[in-house]
């Protein structure tokens, strides 16, 4: 019984690990995209033809920067969220692993084989 439960447990943990990996990958991809956009926005600002336009573009770049900052936080939060999920699963499994055994004697008899 325990061997089989052990295997199921491994499968489940592996699944969560891969899930976490997936989530991190896509969060990172999102951050990379934003970095790219920010770089581009700053470049645009640098080459602005007029001052008002430069101001405008700088503001846009700042906004992007803020959004990126927020995304970092979100990423951080999500990472922690993933860890919490795993903890919760571990707790759940720990709880369910508590093994209880009950025993009831049914009968006792003498036998003779002919």
């Amino acid at each position: 019984m325990t061997a089989r439960d052990g295997r199921s447990f491994d499968t489940e943990m592996d699944k969560l690990d891969r899930w976490a990996e997936d989530r991190r990958d896509s969060l990172k991809a999102e951050l990379a995209d934003m970095d790219e956009a920010l770089k581009e926005a700053k470049k645009q600002a640098r080459f602005a033809p007029t001052l008002p336009e430069k101001l405008e573009r700088q503001r846009a770049a700042r906004k992007l920067e803020e959004r990126r900052e927020e995304a970092w936080h979100a990423y951080d939060e999500a990472s922690r969220d993933i860890d919490r999920q795993k903890d919760a699963l571990l707790d759940e499994i720990g709880r369910r692993l508590e093994q209880r055994v009950e025993q009831t004697p049914l009968f006792t008899m003498r036998w003779r084989l002919t």
Binding site: R18, F107, T114
Partner: protein
């Protein structure tokens, strides 16, 4: 012969809880099932909840491998464990079939929930009708509309059939799919589909996310990595992630367990008479008018479709309906006309009117409505009509009367005449199939499908004048003809006192009629709605008198006969009106593109799966009929439809599907086959021996056929059917004795309660005729044996029966030896040893050692437990 010890032990064995990975877990359900289960089905059912963490599975076998049975096993297992909150979500036209199969094969009570039964239950005081002591079966649309009720029911298991309808759930536009996904999210579930992916690997993501949100991170990372897996290891990774969730078996992998037969098509062409053609053109033109008083705008599409189908069905079908429409207009006219006193509004709604002829209307409306919540049919006829409008209405009424008169004047239908020819041809080919496939006696049987009640009556009258007179019978939603009633009465008499009579008159009527067809009649004229879910595998000729446009419905019809248990090739007869360009094209699509009428499996998964729902296809065809006036237009539109269809079919990801989901393991399946056979034999043997023991004083047993009859009531004070009973599958002349039967349950409970005094049991090895190697060394010896029931609960609960045994000469017996000892016939060998000691009688000695001196203290000893 056995003793109380045996009975008690067997009862505990039979009722013990097992771990979910083992074949043993399903043994009781397998023993109960009224169908021989194939090993791949057992394996699939075990697969779904093999891991105690499992949230469910996608069972994606090819068509024809019995996915319903796999799900039925799971439902039955839960039911046996007293987990009673179970839901089956299916397309509306499969609801009856599901309830019938679950009842017939697994003795599971089901309730179909739809607006009507739901409201009735609420009125009766059940505020959440999803909570009943039965398995709930409902349509996708209904599940969606009652989402809050679904959420607040603590489901033990949800089965979703034809789950490819949900495969676009990853798109935010799939409203129904998303709603269902969210409503069922917290519960264990099983998705059934033969086409888990059709157009894109994203669909697989969608389906898997319904089962388990944690199998893949999110859509974004899935898309980046798996949608076009370039690298071999990405592909391997995807496959590995799917492995614990998705199981697929192909037909070619199980050919040795399942036998398949072929399907052939026969086309009977006919030409309408000039009068028939005139009627067709007139009504068709009428239906194409932009505004009609007879057809309320809200139901225009649906009613138009039905009128067209009735028009194609028979002149009798259309004339009755036209008359109804004219009468309704008359009533409206009377109500609106200021001259007369306000007349009573038409009592019945248009839908009720149509439903009298077209039984399927509720279901069709359910399917066609889809997203719009079913609005109350507003009787807005009270709207005041201008005098001009009133005049128009009057003209429309007159027109309808003219059509009706014309239809009534046509008594000979060209298609009806063609039917006789088609039947004779069909019987010939069907008989040929039976002969070539080794049929012992020829069965001349045909089922004729029509969608209209009036057409059904017409066909009955028609065939009664031919050589088939006296062998024709009707099957429809009401079954109130005198013939049906007398068949029913006869059936009731024949089966009086047995479990065959369910007590539900409509279900019993259906069973009686199907049995009558099997044993006596030759031609079974069925309306499509009524025939849903019945099994006619003893008949191999299917006649589509009128043909549905929805390919899935056609497949359903043919599937009544071309199904598990059919021994011969099935012949499908269709009619084709050569004068009607659109009819010809529809037939061509169904035949050539969907391949409904030929081949081993009829419509292939690829193609049926390509149209997410056959209703959309049906709607599109209805649109073409409605808009096109010239043959050129018709041809153009159908070419267009065909192109679209081909695009859908060819982009099918057949390759990916095969490679990704193929995790079939011949060895595993073979092992399951052997294990399940052994388990079943043992299980049935124990149940039978225990029953004989417990009922010994109350029943007379027949040794040959595992039958018995009660002569006294073994459970005084309770109502027990005296029988006869027989333990076997497919029993017709007696009650089926099986572990789930109430009598067996009582017998088991009594055996569990036995408290046999310690006694000597003499096991007869020599006389058993059995050869059990591990018992050989114990022959001629004696000893002590104790049995305990051990229940363990960790991730799940499991019971085991543990023995401790020792021979009088001090040799310990192992578990297998103790267990096998109970396989032998035995009898109580006189008084208990303790009594015997006191009485000074002869005690068994082995090798000169008195048994009690060495082991007296062992007798009450607690068995050692190891696990």
């Amino acid at each position: 012969m056995i003793t109380d010890f045996h009975a008690k032990y067997f009862a505990y064995e039979i009722t013990k809880r097992c771990s979910s990975g083992s074949v043993e877990k399903l043994t009781a359900v397998l023993a109960d099932a009224q169908v021989d289960l194939n090993p791949h089905q057992i394996e699939a059912a075990l697969f779904a909840f093999r891991s105690p963490f499992s949230k469910g599975a996608i069972l994606a076998d090819e068509v024809g491998l019995g996915k319903t049975i796999e799900a039925g096993l799971l439902l039955a297992q839960n039911w046996a464990e007293r987990k009673r909150r179970m839901l089956v979500i299916v397309p509306a036209n499969l609801r009856k079939q599901w309830t019938q199969e679950l009842a017939d094969k697994f003795y599971l009570p089901c309730a179909i929930l739809e607006a009507r039964s739901f409201n009735a239950a609420v009125r009766a005081g059940n505020l959440n009708p999803f909570q009943q002591d039965a398995i709930i079966v409902c349509s996708y649309q209904f599940a969606r509309s009652k989402e809050p009720y679904l959420r607040q029911t603590g489901w033990d298991l949800i089965v979703i059939d034809e789950a490819h309808r949900l495969r676009n759930v990853y798109k935010s536009s799939s409203k129904i799919a998303l709603a269902i996904k969210q409503a069922v999210a917290p519960f264990p579930k099983v998705l059934l589909t033969a086409t888990p992916l059709q157009n894109s690997l994203l669909e697989l993501y969608g389906l898997v996310s319904i089962i388990d949100e944690f199998a893949f991170g999110d859509l974004k990372s899935y898309r980046a990595r798996f949608v076009r897996p370039n690298r071999a290891d990405d592909f391997a990774e995807l496959k590995a992630r799917l492995r614990p969730i998705c199981k697929r078996t192909l037909r070619r992998q199980v050919l040795e367990y399942v036998k398949y037969t072929n399907r052939h098509a026969l086309v009977e062409e006919f030409e309408p008479s000039p009068d028939e053609q005139r009627l067709y053109d007139l009504v068709s033109d009428y239906l194409q008018r932009p505004h009609l008083y007879a057809l309320p705008a809200s139901q225009r599409q649906l009613v138009t479709l039905i009128l067209r189908k009735l028009l194609a069905s028979s002149t009798y079908a259309i004339s009755g309906t036209l008359e109804g429409l004219a009468n309704r207009l008359e009533a409206t006219e009377a109500a609106a006309s200021p001259a007369t006193a306000p007349a009573t509004a038409p009592a019945a709604t248009l839908e009720d009117d149509l439903a009298a002829d077209w039984e399927d209307i509720d279901e069709l409306a359910d399917e066609w409505d889809g997203d719009s919540a079913s609005e109350a049919p507003a009787e807005d006829e009270a709207v005041r009509l201008t005098p001009e409008q009133l005049a128009e209405l009057r003209r429309e009424k007159e027109l309808l009367r003219e059509f009706c008169a014309l239809a009534k004047s046509i008594t000979t239908n060209s298609k009806g005449e063609a039917l006789l020819k088609a039947l004779r041809r069909g019987f010939e080919v069907a008989a040929e199939a039976q002969r070539s496939q080794g049929g012992a006696t020829l069965q001349q049987k045909a089922v004729i499908f029509t969608e209209s009640r009036r057409t059904q009556d017409y066909l009955f009258r028609l065939l009664e004048q031919t050589e088939f007179a006296g062998k024709v019978m009707l099957f429809n939603g009401t079954n109130n003809a005198p013939l049906a009633k007398s068949i029913y009465q006869g059936w009731l008499q024949q089966h009086a006192g047995t479990d065959r009579i369910s007590g539900s008159p409509s279900a019993d009527m259906r069973a009686a009629l199907v049995e009558h067809f099997r044993d006596h009649a030759a031609i079974f004229i069925a309306t499509e709605a009524a025939a849903e879910g019945i099994n006619l595998q003893f008949c191999n000729l299917v006649v589509n008198y009128d043909l549905p446009w929805n390919p899935q419905r056609v497949e359903q019809r043919i599937g009544r006969c071309h199904r598990y248990g059919q021994k011969f090739d099935v012949v499908v007869v269709n009619f084709l009106n050569k004068k009607n360009a659109a009819d010809v094209r529809v037939y061509q699509l169904l035949d050539e593109k969907f391949r409904l009428f030929d081949g081993v499996f009829g419509a292939s998964d690829e193609v049926l799966g390509a149209v997410e729902s056959g209703v959309d296809f049906e709607k599109r065809i209805a649109g073409i009929y409605q808009q096109c006036r010239t043959t050129e237009q018709i041809q153009f539109e159908f070419d267009q439809l065909q192109l679209d269809l081909e695009a859908q079919i060819s982009s099918g990801q057949r390759d990916a599907r095969e490679k990704l989901l193929d995790n079939f393991d011949q060895e595993v399946v073979e092992k399951v086959r052997i294990e399940s056979h052994a388990m079943l034999d043992r299980f049935n043997d124990q149940l039978w021996r225990l029953t004989r023991h417990v009922l010994a004083d109350h029943a007379s047993f027949t040794d040959d056929g595992f039958g018995f009859m009660l002569h006294t009531n073994p459970f005084p004070g309770e109502t027990i059917n005296p029988g006869p009973y027989r333990m076997a599958k497919g029993v017709e002349d007696a009650n089926t004795y099986r572990v789930g039967h109430p009598l067996a349950q009582r017998v088991l409970a009594r055996a569990r309660e036995l408290e046999p005094e310690p006694a000597e049991v003499v096991c007869d090895y020599a006389g058993s005729g059995k050869n059990i190697a591990i018992l050989e060394p114990l022959r001629g010896r004696s000893g002590w044996l104790a049995c305990a029931h051990v229940s363990m609960s960790a991730l799940e609960s499991e019971d085991q029966l543990v023995f401790a045994g020792v021979s009088d000469d001090g040799e310990a017996m192992d578990q297998a030896q103790c267990r096998r000892l109970f396989d032998l016939p035995a009898e109580a060998g006189g008084a208990a040893p303790s009594a015997r000691r006191r009485g000074g009688g002869a005690r068994p000695y082995v090798d000169g050692q008195p048994s009690d001196s060495a082991h007296r203290d062992d007798r009450p000893r607690r068995p050692l437990v190891r696990h």
